[in-house]
Amino acid sequence: MLGLRRNKIEDGVERTRQSVFGRIANLFRTNEITEETWDELEMLLIQADVGIATVAELLQIVRESSAERGLRRPEEVRDLLKQGLVDLLQGSQHTYLEGERLLNVVLVVGVNGSGKTTSIAKLARYHKERGDRVLLAAADTFRAAAIDQLQIWAQRVGVDVIAHQPGADPGAVVYDAIRAAQARSANVLIVDTAGRLHTRHNLMQELAKISSIARKQVHRAPHETLLVLDATTGQNALNQAKMFAETAGVTGVVLAKLDSSAKGGMVFAIGRELGLPVLFVATGEQPDDWAPFDAVSFVNALFGEA
C-alpha cells in the first residue's frame, strides 16, 4: 500500500523533474560551476515558485559555504544545495498527531478552491487504513453543495459525516460532531470548513471561533489545524499561511494538487519564514493519492533521485 502511494507521489514529482528541477539536476552534470550556472540556478528556482527572498538567501549560503570548503565539483555543490533545501523544510517538522488521546480533532482550512474537501477524503482514508475510527464534520455550510460533496466522498471512503442544513452555524456542526464522535467512540474527527480568503477578517474570526468551540469540548482541541495549499499557488501562499497561522493556529500544511506541472516551491519560503511544517502531499483525484511528507525524499525526488 505504502509502495503504491509512494509511486503516485513520485509520478507527480516526476513531471517536475522533467521540467524545472530536472533541469537543476542537469545543471550539475557539467564540469565546473560558473557564474552562468548560478544565474541559471536562480532562474530555475524562481520558476518553481520558491520566491526571490528564499532563493537569494539559499544561493548565498550555498555559494559561501562551497567557497569556504573549497568545493569545486558540481556534485558537491549540488549536495550542498539539496541540504539547504531540506534544512528549510526540516527546521519545522513535527510528528502528525503526536501522543495518545481518546479523540483527535483535525481542523482543515484553506482558501477557496485549494482542495480541502478532496484532501479530507484522502486523510480520512489514510486514518481508516491505519485502523482509526473516523468521523467527518461538514462545517462548510456556506458553499453551494459543499455538504453533498463531502458526503459523496465519505461514502466512497466508507466513513460517516455529521452534517446540518446548508447555511447552518459551522460552530454548531462542530459541537454536534464532537458529541457524536464521543458517543460513537470515534478516535479521529476531521472538520471540513468553508474556503475563505485570508484577507476576509470576519470569516477568519469564524475559524478562531470554531477552534474555541472544539477546545471547550475536547482538551487542547483541535490537535492539528491543517492548511491546504494548492501547489500551483505563487508567492501569495506565504500570506495565506501567515494569516491562517495567526488566526486559526495552523499547525501544518497539506500540499495539494502536486500532480500538476507546478511543484509547490513556496513551501520552502513557508518553512523558512514561518517554520510551518508540510505534513502531507496530495497528488490526484483518487482517495489513495496521498502520502505523509518527507523532506529528504521530497527534495531527492525533485532532483530526480528518488
Binding site: R15, M43, I46, Q47, A48, D49, G51, I52, V111, N112, G113, S114, G115, F142, R143, A144, A145, A146, D148, Q149, Q151, I152, W153, R156, P166, L197, H198, T199, R200, H201, N202, D230, T232, T233, G234, Q235, N236, A237, N239, Q240, M243, E246, T247, K257, D259, S260, S261, A262, G265, M266, E285
Partner: protein, 441 residues
C-alpha cells in the same frame, strides 16, 4: 503614487549616476528592482525578462541616460508598458445567431462554477436569457453546486447527471437552448490539468460539438509561475478567446494575469471579486498594473468609499463641517461607515505606500484602535458628545472606567477630535469633502 517601488528605483539610479554619465548597462542594472517587483507579483520569469528588456530599450531610446530624473522616467515607462501589455478591457463576444455559446475552462479550484453563475447574472442584465450547463461530471457534487447556484439566482441549469459524457451534455444543452429560446449558453466544464491529455481532448470535442463563440480561461489570481504553462497549453488545445481573473478580493498581486495575457495575447474580460453572484468587476488595466507593481489601488478605495457614503449623507456632513456643528456623534457615525467598508488593514493596503506600513502592524492593531475610540465615545452622555467642552476631570475618569480605557486614552481622543475641528474650520474657507474627492482621482 509610486512610493515603494519608485523609491527603490530612484535609489538605484542615484547610485549609478553618482559615477557620472549613465551607460546602457547602468539602465539595465537600475531596472533590477522592477524585475524583482514583478517576480514577487508572480509574473513569470520569461515574461519579466521580455518586459524589462523592452523597458530598457525604450528607456535608452527615449534618452533616460541623459535625463536629470532617470528614475521617474523609467517608472513612467514601466507603468505605461505594463498597461499596454495588459491590454484594453474587452467585452464578451455575444455576436452571431443565438444561442451564443460561452465555454469556461481552467484548472481545478480556479473558480469556474462561481464565475459561470456570475456571468449568467451579468448576461441577464444585458437582456439575455442565459442557460447554464452542468458539464462537470467528475468532481463529486459539482452538478448539485451549479444547480443550487442556479436556483439562488433564478437561472435554469441544464444537467443530465454524472453518467452522460460531458461533450454530449453540452451539445444537448445547446440544442435545448435553441428549442426553448435561450439566447446564451454557459458551459461549466470540469477543472483539469493542462497536462492531462485525455481531459484536454474532451474539451476539444466539446468545442467541436458546440462551436462556442468564447472559450474563456478562468485564472486564479493567486497562481504562481505555472500560469504561463497552463495558459499556453489551454490556448494551444482549444483556442482561448478571453481570460477571467478570479479571487481578486484577496491580496495576491495578480502577476499570473500578466503572464497568461502575454502568452495567449487574448484580453482579460472580467474579474471575480467575491462569493456573491454579483461580485463581478470589469477589468481596468491601470489598476491591475498598479497592483502588480505593489503600488496600491486608490481607485478601488475611492469606489468603495463612494458606495458606502451616499450623496445625501455626504452633503449633510459637509454642511455640518462648514457650520462647525460636527460633533462626536457624527464622528462615531463616520467610524461605523468606515468599518462597514471592510477591515481597516485592507483599506490601508490599498493606499499606495501603506502596504509596507500595515505589514509592520499586528494584524488587528488598527481595528483595535477603532474599537477603543468607539468604546470611549459610547461611554459619553449625549450632552458630552454634542459639547465635548463640558468633559471635566471627573467626567474623564468616569468615561475611562466605562469604556475600560485610561484617562490618558480619553484625553488623546478629545485632543484628536479638537484638532479635527480645527482642520475643518480651515476647510470652511476652501471646499468641503465633496470638493476634495475629485482631486483624489
Amino acid at each position: 503614487m509610486f512610493e515603494s517601488l519608485s523609491d527603490k528605483v530612484q535609489e538605484a539610479f542615484r547610485k549609478l549616476s553618482g559615477k557620472g554619465r549613465l551607460s546602457e548597462t547602468d539602465v539595465k542594472t537600475g531596472l533590477r528592482d522592477v524585475r524583482l517587483a514583478l517576480l514577487e507579483a508572480d509574473v513569470n520569469y520569461r515574461v519579466v525578462k521580455d518586459f524589462t528588456d523592452r523597458v530598457a530599450e525604450r528607456a535608452i531610446g527615449e534618452g533616460v541616460i541623459r535625463s536629470l530624473t532617470p528614475a521617474q522616467m523609467v517608472i513612467k515607462i514601466v507603468h505605461e508598458e505594463l498597461i499596454s501589455l495588459l491590454g484594453e478591457p474587452a467585452k464578451l463576444d455575444l455576436g452571431g445567431t443565438p444561442p451564443v455559446v460561452l465555454m469556461l475552462v481552467g484548472l481545478q479550484g480556479s473558480g469556474k462554477t462561481t464565475m459561470a453563475a456570475k456571468l449568467a447574472v451579468h448576461l441577464r442584465k444585458l437582456g439575455h436569457r442565459p442557460l447554464l450547463v452542468a458539464a462537470d461530471t467528475y468532481r463529486p457534487a459539482a452538478i448539485q453546486q451549479l444547480e443550487t447556484l442556479g436556483r439562488a439566482i433564478d437561472i435554469t441549469v441544464h444537467s443530465e447527471g454524472d453518467r452522460v459524457a460531458p461533450p454530449r451534455i453540452c451539445r444537448n444543452g445547446v440544442d435545448r437552448a435553441r428549442r426553448e429560446g435561450y439566447t446564451a449558453v454557459l458551459l461549466d466544464t470540469a477543472g483539469r490539468l493542462q497536462i492531462d491529455d485525455t481531459m484536454m481532448s474532451e474539451l476539444e470535442s466539446i468545442r467541436e460539438l458546440t462551436s462556442p463563440r468564447e472559450c474563456l480561461l478562468v485564472v486564479d489570481s493567486m497562481t504562481g509561475q505555472e500560469a504561463v504553462a497552463v495558459a499556453e497549453e489551454f490556448n494551444k488545445r482549444i483556442g482561448v478567446t478571453g481570460l477571467l481573473l478570479t479571487k481578486v478580493d484577496g491580496d495576491a498581486r495578480g502577476g499570473a494575469a500578466l503572464s497568461a495575457r502575454s502568452v495567449t495575447g487574448v484580453p482579460i474580460k472580467f474579474m471575480g471579486s467575491g462569493e456573491k453572484p454579483t461580485d463581478l468587476e470589469p477589468f481596468y488595466p491601470d489598476r491591475l498594473a498598479s497592483r502588480i507593481l505593489g503600488m496600491g489601488d486608490m481607485l478601488t478605495l475611492i469606489e468603495r468609499a463612494e458606495a458606502t457614503f451616499d450623496q445625501k449623507q455626504a452633503a449633510d456632513l459637509e454642511r455640518k463641517m462648514r457650520s462647525s456643528a460636527f460633533t462626536l456623534e457624527d464622528f462615531i457615525e463616520q467610524l461605523h461607515a468606515v468599518k462597514s467598508m471592510g477591515p481597516l488593514n485592507d483599506l490601508l493596503e490599498m493606499i499606495p505606500g501603506m502596504s509596507q506600513v500595515t505589514k509592520q502592524l499586528p494584524s488587528d492593531a488598527t481595528e483595535r484602535g477603532l474599537k477603543t475610540t468607539e468604546a470611549i465615545i459610547s461611554s459619553m452622555t449625549i450632552q458630552e458628545r454634542r459639547a465635548p467642552r463640558i468633559i471635566n476631570a471627573s467626567r474623564r475618569r468616569r468615561i475611562a472606567r466605562g469604556s475600560g480605557t485610561s484617562v490618558q486614552e480619553v484625553n488623546n481622543l478629545l485632543r484628536q477630535f479638537e484638532q479635527m475641528q480645527q482642520m475643518m474650520k480651515q476647510l470652511q474657507s476652501g471646499r468641503g469633502m465633496r470638493g476634495l474627492m475629485p482631486r483624489l482621482r
